[in-house]
């Protein structure tokens, strides 16, 4: 997760968010927002990334627009940031698509191609020529050459070359997208096809220019708090791994921001587990060959947009967020609810659920804590009203959901064979397609699907390394009771 180039773009995005929030807290939000690019790159300042200070400011302006929650695609480049700030305050509901591409930050990477480098030894055997099924490779007497018109980028020549002299260049966002939703347009820049996009956010992590952005809802949430509304935070269990304090300290930290109450989404996970175990039992009885889990928002979007054939195999259990939000709205009918999310895809789920009003991701929460000057490790520890099970608190780990259903399983232990799709990629999407088409999964009959490799603790808006987050989450869950003890 934290290679250096990615860290640079993440730091930039976080700095912009903190500045937007500080501007919001100041006595002149609109003017101070307009000044953000100039404050970050004042006259005569260093030019760390782009060709000149003007380009730096132009890209920062775009980042501010996304931070205020707007699409870059519709920007006319003439509107002042102060006007965007005003519009953000007036907005009643967040924009529907969670992601946007900053066209001026996009490099317009060279198109993906396979080509022979100078490492070609012009060998006698020429396995590359024999490997190609499309007649795309020839030899010019000095080395092999590839005709890009004929090349299908299958990579067989790359595998055949004993010198590893053939390489494939990639466009990072296109390469990372599991569903082909982001691609270079005629202008050479990346565009997201919203009919295909599953909001998994892999392009956001992949782009080394930081050109894909989430549209933030920080202003929406902070406005509601400022207006004195009852605003309740519901945090994803992965958050435990992503702040430098204990889960018991979250309550006070959120209250310092102005939230009136805090719920663990693990509470809803305990319902998901029971419903899902029951669902699985019913399906087995009816002779279903397998069932997939249903809690990952990016996977649910994948099913809707690309894999309708697998829908009959997806569990009917709702997500932990769904059940938690239902409980919160029942207990606080007038409250505004905010889900604290490790990823971008949950924004999509929230839109379809009237019980979830807004979503903030961990990065945005982190930016709020900085702007408010809240030191989380000095917050007082408080107990949660509802104590979630160990399994519910382990939901954000790859394998955690399958293990939870297993722990709640009342049938013959041999009847439940868990398997995991640990990360959606082009390859795992193909696997799922095959399971649906053939009605068979050779690896097991309870398929846990998580879009992020490692689970939600590896969500693309995370603040910690996956390894550290894993340790914190499991240390926390170990303090709780296990569903297995109940079933004994």
């Amino acid at each position: 997760m934290s290679n250096t180039s990615e860290l640079d773009t993440r730091r930039l995005k976080r700095e912009v968010l903190v500045r937007i929030i500080k501007a919001f807290m100041s006595d002149n939000f609109e003017e101070n927002t307009r000044l953000i690019p100039y404050d970050m790159r004042p006259k005569g300042s260093e030019v760390p990334y782009r060709c000149c200070v003007y380009k730096e400011r132009a890209v920062l302006r775009s980042r501010v627009i996304a931070g205020l929650g707007f699409s870059m695609e519709e920007d006319d480049e003439r509107t002042l940031l102060s006007d965007f700030a005003k519009q953000a305050l007036a907005r009643k509901t967040p924009e529907p698509e969670p992601l946007t591409v900053l066209q001026n930050a996009c490099k317009g990477c060279p198109s993906s191609k396979v080509f022979v480098t100078e490492l070609c030894q012009n060998c006698v055997a020429k396995p590359c020529l024999k490997a190609c099924n499309f007649g795309a490779i020839s030899n010019n007497g000095k080395r092999s050459v590839i005709d890009s018109e004929k090349c299908k980028k299958c990579g067989l020549c790359m595998a055949a070359c004993p010198y590893h002299a053939i390489v494939k260049t990639v466009v990072p966002c296109e390469e990372a997208c599991p569903v082909g939703a982001i691609a270079k347009g005629e202008d050479g820049l990346a565009h997201i096809d919203k009919d295909k996009c599953i909001s998994c956010g892999k392009c956001v992590s992949a782009c080394p220019f930081g050109a894909t952005h989430a549209k933030s809802q920080v202003i929406d949430v902070l406005s509601k708090i400022k207006q004195g509304k009852e605003v309740i935070a519901m945090f994803a269990p992965a958050l435990v791994g992503h702040l430098p304090c204990s889960a018991e300290q979250f309550i006070e930290a959120f209250k310092k921001i102005g939230f009136s109450d805090v719920y663990e989404v693990a509470q809803g996970a305990d319902t998901t587990i029971q419903v899902e175990a029951h669902d699985f039992a019913e399906r087995l009885e009816q002779g279903a060959p397998f069932m997939t889990t249903s809690c990952c928002a990016a996977y649910n979007e994948l099913v809707k947009k690309h894999l309708p054939e697998i829908k009959p195999y997806v569990s009917d259990a709702h997500t932990p967020l769904y059940y938690t939000a239902e409980i919160v709205k029942k207990e606080h009918p007038n409250a505004e609810t905010v889900f604290i999310s490790p990823c971008f895809a949950k924004r999509k789920e929230a839109q379809d659920n009237p019980n979830v009003d807004n979503v903030l991701n961990f990065e945005e929460l982190g930016a709020i804590l900085i702007a408010f000057g809240i030191e989380v490790d000095t917050c007082e520890s408080k107990e949660y009203a509802f104590k979630s099970s160990k399994e519910a608190r382990d939901f954000p780990l790859s394998g955690g959901v399958a293990k939870a259903v297993q722990a709640a399983w009342k049938g013959n232990p041999d009847d439940l064979k868990p398997t995991v799709i640990n990360g959606l990629t082009k390859a795992t999407v193909r696997d799922l397609k095959m399971y649906a088409k053939t009605g068979k999964c050779p690896l097991g009959n309870l398929i846990e699907v998580m879009s992020c490799e490692g689970g939600c603790i590896a969500g693309n808006a995370g603040l910690n390394t996956v390894k550290m987050a894993l340790k914190k989450v499991t240390d926390y869950s170990a303090q709780s009771y296990s569903l297995k003890d109940d079933n004994k």
Binding site: M1, S2, T4, L7, R10, R11, R14, E15, V18, D39, M40, L243, P244, E363, G366, A367, L369, I370, G373, I374, E375, V376, D377, T378, L463, N464, T465, M468
Partner: protein, 84 residues
Amino acid sequence: MEKIKVKICQGTTCFVMGGDTIKAMADALAEKYGDKIEIVPVRCLETCHESDSFSKAPYVFVDEEVVSAADLEKVINVIESKLK
């Protein structure tokens, strides 16, 4: 010889602005320098609280020297200069 004290900030700002790399840094430094240095996790020392200074987090303190926007390379450079 007295050990070089490397204070690594555990505060919220440093964590959010790149603390995940800082945690990994502690292990890497311990391995590289062994008992030549002493790694001390510290609470927020408020270096980040003045106006825009949050943007230069995470902070690491090598003895009394402040390393801003700290990464492994920068911290190693400062330690090396002290060891000379």
